[in-house]
């Protein structure tokens, strides 16, 4: 068996294939389909300080080669997460990364504190959810504000802090640089693109929340571009995501500079997508006689 291990933000993973926040529930939902313990890492749905209901339906709208979602952070809050959900998630024996979303800097810090020492392997700061109106977006689009939040969280926890960036900005590199300087140990790229759809029958927006986040293969070129730009600039690892559906797509992100990848919307098209991607990477390394798969990281810009 090929060695696919990797370390991201100090988190050791048996392979670089994670799941993307919000698309994989607590893992349990998929556990009857395959061995969830064979993933690189689990990432939770966004966790807020208080329980959060999320947006009114419809929350999903299919688009060409993708979908819009406006789930809007429905979750039971950090305390219920720790007591009711986390124990089950830890049971798979792979690192659990908590995706957290505060509406203010102070909330981010408070959530981080409550998760410290609970056994989560790291925090993924979602400073970029397009489905939350209360400031989440602004936080993630202004380098200084983003850096402030990251710094505060880093100071308040011993857990490694991964920062998830939005592509809905003029300059993602500046943002990446700012949060790296503020102490991020890794970056997740990308969150969804802000989009919407209108139902021509009702002549009204399809989504209950009007706007939503676009994900799936449709956005893959935007995500590859972000990974390519950012991974050449910062010296912390990048977790690539956005439309990865097949092994070939995962490899594209790795060549662009991703040290790990996360599979999100692909689960909706093929629930076995992540499993197939793991096999693909192993097979690819074997067939191409690659001893250390990490040579492939950023190969598209390293080897000219």
């Amino acid at each position: 068996m090929v060695d696919l291990t990797v370390e991201v933000a100090g988190i050791k993973m048996q392979n670089p294939v994670m799941v993307a926040s919000g698309t994989f529930g607590c893992g349990e939902e998929y556990s009857s389909l395959f061995d969830v313990g064979s993933l690189g890492a689990l990432v939770t749905k966004g966790i807020t300080l208080k329980p959060w209901q999320g947006n009114k339906p419809p929350r999903i709208c299919e688009t060409p080669a993708g979908l819009l979602n406006a789930v809007g952070l429905q979750n039971p809050g950090v305390d219920a997460f720790v007591h009711e959900i986390l124990p089950g998630m830890k049971g798979y024996g792979v690192p659990v990364i908590a995706n957290i979303a505060g509406f203010t800097k102070e909330e981010f810090v408070e959530i981080a504190k409550r998760l410290t020492g609970t056994g989560v392997a790291g925090l993924e700061l979602n400073i970029s959810c397009p489905n939350v109106k209360a400031g989440g977006m602004a936080l993630g689009t202004v380098p200084e504000l983003a850096a402030e939040v990251v710094e505060a969280v880093v100071e308040s926890t011993s857990l490694p802090v991964i920062v998830k960036l939005t592509p809905n900005v003029t300059d993602i590199v500046a943002l990446a640089q700012a949060v790296t300087d503020a102490g991020a140990r890794a970056l997740s790229l990308i969150n969804t693109l802000l989009g919407m759809a209108i139902d021509i029958k009702s002549r009204r927006p399809v989504l209950g929340n009007v706007m939503g986040g676009l994900s799936g293969p449709a956005i893959r070129p935007v995500a590859v571009r972000a990974v390519w730009q950012v991974s050449q600039t910062v010296d912390i690892p990048v977790i690539g995501m956005g439309g990865i559906c097949r092994g070939e797509d995962a490899l594209e992100f790795i060549l662009a500079g991703a040290t790990a990848v996360a599979i999100g919307s692909a689960h909706f098209h093929d629930p076995w997508a992540a499993m197939k991607i793991i096999s693909f990477l192993g097979r690819y390394c074997e067939e191409n006689e690659i001893n250390d798969w990490r040579e492939l990281i950023g190969a598209a810009w390293k080897n000219k």
Binding site: G22, T23, F24, G25, C26, E29, Y30, S32, L33, K45, Q53, G54, K56, P57, P58, R59, I60, C61, E62, T63, P64, A65, G66, L67, N69, V71, Q74, G208, G216, P217, A218, C245, S265, H267, F268, H269, D270, P271, W272
Partner: protein
Amino acid sequence: METGRKTGAHPSEHAAGVLEQIALASDCFLLTVAAPNLARAVSPGQFALLGCGTVFDPFLRRPLSIHQVDVERGEVSFLYRAKGAGTQWLSQRRRGDVIPVLGPLGRGFRHSGSGKKGLLVGAGLGAAPLLFLAQELAGRKWSLVILLGGRTKAGILRPDAFERFGTLKTITEDGSTPKKGTIIDLLQEELKKGGWDTIYACGPRAVLKVIQGISCRTGIPAQISVEERMACGLGACLGCVCRSAHSSGYLRVCKEGPVFDAGEVLLDG
């Protein structure tokens, strides 16, 4: 003892070979596939997600109720309307083609005891999940009256199949059946006769809402099969929710549903 969900019926993927694709009237199709494991595992009211299209457009799988099951022959049928790109693609599959089918999914109809009196209400495509239910209830010696409504006579789907399991009554909006009116008219008429143990209904939201009201007023328990746009179908993405009547939160149609007790959900968004 409540039944209706087979224990250990975990969802899995079935590479389902198309056996038959019959065009019924008004863009509706009856698709039968070979899926022996699914046939064995599924209960009435549950659904499956069918992968449609060759590459990534359509991207999402389509949820369809299980319409009919033949466990011995290992066959599962779906009754559906070819509407958009996904179901149109589906309607073009022919014998020998293979469709990825994820199922069984969701919580189906509940029923208990035997020899009860059930009223099945199917508006248009709402007939889809009711045939399998009718078969099961008839097998438990329920006496059934099945109400089917459509805009036209062609919209009354599979009347012959339903007649095997109970008394079928139909109504159309254009009067192309003897009775003219809406399914609700027919339902009101039937309710007057009294003695019903449970109402089982599927159809457009407007119809389901009326039935919620009727169930509440009359005290006759009702179960309704609800539709919402879905992504994962497994309860993981929180995409398919419906407002809960008992809490301030939401219920997942793909997990806590698609069949809800009439009083469980609010259908206004």
